[in-house]
Symmetry: C2
Subunit: 226 residues, 2 copies
């Protein structure tokens, strides 16, 4: 499948690399490809420069948001939550119409101090904001409840015995995303309901951050025991 | 131990019955014991009248909030989240001073429509509100992330292979609550940190409600796979 992954951070790189490894035709979208590839220093979070990753993953294309989305059948939103609407707007509503947007971002809000809070939250969610802004796209919220390495290789944690959620209004879109999740090795995909259920999936982040602190590793996941 | 359980709903009854069964000296606190015992009809949620439960659990005392709290070494807040501060205020700050408050309530807000949202949320929590209002008490948030039957008998779900969280400022209080949790059969007790981590534990409720809908049963629980 032709897939655009919007976002050049650790999450975007991890997802793009894994999808390419599964044989998909993957392009990473960024605001300014020249600038992204020209950077030579690690970013604030210590993430190595993109060009270094790209040299090792040269099968993945790099393009401006709109060019990446125009050629894609499915678009992954792997940008920071605070920049997601701007990135998708740059991708262009016409380039998103009729397509599945697999939204894996979290609307972390660092303006209220640490640990981050969420914005939007409670009676709205980033997933819903994206669906409202791009009504012709089919938004599916998923994977935002775990760290990037576990998203694409669930066997890294407890032999893969844990759960992943999907939220969205379109059954076919959720089935397409579920297919991708299963290709990563996820075995327990729970359909939470329509896109308003993205509120719950996003609101799991605050306890995720505390569990990360308690365990000293982000390599864990929620399993729905039943 | 002498334990007061504030709240006469399903959660309060389940916790009180289980604690009495473990040999504790348990009193259920309510606003007006006479009125509570006089009711003969099920409530709005279909919960049978309290007197019917009490007839089968006559070893559990029934008293006004203040009387229940005055005689207790540990107080369980099993009231509705929206009524918790009023109930604890009726119990009396003097009767709570120096004691552990095991807070198992959720601040569900039905005023924004269904499914319920939370209030407070995100940058505050019910657990923190209680700790601020009763600074001499030692609040420990716990058990709010699962249904009542699983709180007191974790073996009902997946052989007890799942997790429970504690949040609070006082290490001894968390140790005391952890002892109670283990006496119920909980084996994986995760210390999330200080009482501000109750935000995360409470914000898990929206996805809990969606999973309940997806599975058709409340008898599930979160396991932190790692």
């Amino acid at each position: 499948m032709k897939i655009a992954v919007l976002g050049t951070g650790m999450v975007g790189r991890t997802i793009a690399g894994a999808l390419a490894g599964l044989g998909h035709d993957v392009v990473i979208g960024t605001r300014d490809p020249q600038a992204t590839l020209a950077r030579t220093e690690p970013d604030m979070m210590g993430t190595p420069p993109f060009a270094q990753w790209h040299a090792a993953n040269s099968g993945v294309g790099v393009a401006a948001f709109a060019d990446a989305a125009a050629g894609a059948e499915l678009v992954v939103n792997a940008t920071n939550g605070g920049g997601s609407l701007a990135a998708l707007t740059a991708a262009g509503s016409g380039n998103l119409a009729g397509k599945v947007i697999m939204d894996i971002a979290n609307p972390l809000d660092f303006s209220q101090g640490m640990p981050p809070s969420l914005n939007p939250v409670n009676t709205d969610s980033l997933g819903e904001q994206i669906q409202r802004t791009f009504p012709e796209a089919k938004v599916v919220k998923t994977l935002n409840t775990m760290t990037a390495s576990v998203m694409v290789d669930p066997s890294r944690v407890a032999g893969g015995e844990h759960s992943v959620f999907v939220s969205g209004n379109d059954a076919d879109a959720k089935a397409a995303v579920t297919g991708i999740l299963k290709s990563f090795g996820h075995r327990d995909v729970i359909d939470l309901g329509d896109i308003t259920s993205a509120r719950g999936a996003e609101m799991i982040l605050p306890i995720w951050l505390r569990i990360w602190g308690a365990l000293g590793t982000g390599e864990f996941n929620f399993k729905i025991a039943r």
